[in-house]
């Protein structure tokens, strides 16, 4: 017999984490010392993690920072403060960058001196099932 409270309620909305990867070539960063890399147009998504690594573990150049921004062509909004990264490991380091995402184009702003180094960055986005 069912209890008066009924069966246990389960979360009806399922969600997944999907990756958005971008290859950051630090040799392409000009004298201004910063460059924006497009990540995605978030659709009812939140960012769970930002992973940064390289093919071989190396120290990051002095002054290397990353920041999440949106740029809709009219306005640039800084979602997070610039975060310093000191190493690029093969198994990537994880940055928790709490940010409220709307639907505007999401970019990773990279601050770095020009260096012959390729960095692999992945945003782990969480998306909910549309019900």
């Amino acid at each position: 017999m069912a209890s008066a409270a009924g069966p246990a309620v389960q979360n009806p909305v399922r969600s997944i984490i999907y990756p958005v990867g971008v290859e950051v070539d630090l040799s392409l960063i000009d004298a201004s010392g910063e460059r924006d890399y497009f990540l995605t147009h978030p659709f009812q998504s939140s960012m769970q993690d930002l992973l940064i690594g390289a093919l071989a573990t190396v120290d990051a150049p002095t002054g290397f920072k990353v920041q999440l921004i949106t740029n809709d062509g009219f306005e640039v909004t800084e979602l997070t403060e610039p975060e310093t990264v000191t190493r690029f490991p093969v198994e990537p380091s994880s940055l928790r960058l709490p940010a409220t995402l709307g639907g505007a184009p999401l970019f990773l702003r990279v601050f770095s001196p020009t260096t012959a180094q390729i960095v692999y960055v992945t945003a782990h986005m969480m998306s909910n099932e549309v019900v």
Binding site: R14, I16, Y18, G21, L51, A56, T57, E91, P92, Y120
Partner: protein, 214 residues
Amino acid sequence: MGFFDSAITWVANTIFGGAANSAAQQAVTETAQDLAQEEVVKWVQDMLTEPPPDELDPYEGAGFTPVRSGWPVQFSVEAVGAPGAPPAGTFFVGHLPVCLFDSLRMTMTTPSVEDDARQESGALARVVQRDADGRTRFISGLEVGYAEDGTLVRQDLRLPARSPLVAEEQYGGEIQPSLPTFIVVAPYGTWAGVPNVDKTNVQVTLTILCQTLT
């Protein structure tokens, strides 16, 4: 009477003698024979419809549970050909979360099978990861052997130059979460006799199955 009924009758007659039994023997054993014959019929039916356990296909047996499930997420890249340079490239797709390999699909532009009728040149695609020791982990394709450093090598997905077909690989290995993952496109063969190389681009799509968070 079909083959199945004939087989049952033959087995039953062989075991119990059938018409060769004398009338006396038949009278004595008739009831027992009817009962036994039903068991034999059932036995033969079972034998014909269910193979012995040791002959069961391991992928169709009761213990086999397909595990390739999840939400499909796709990554698509295009390797662009240039004059004298067939399409090639290494494309970073991300540090993948917990997921399964589903498929790798490849097509080409400017299709014409007549240009390379012997199909001696073409493009290959594979999905690889780089592990913490700097070794390559092959993800897509059937296992074909081991490299000198112990790396398990898998078969590439191949498509002859300017083929109008779609090549698809649905077999692959484990994806290690958080390792950098790449789609690699490379030419094979000489491509010397392939015209319009600069218009021959290769499109590759990797599909993974992401797991639902609970």
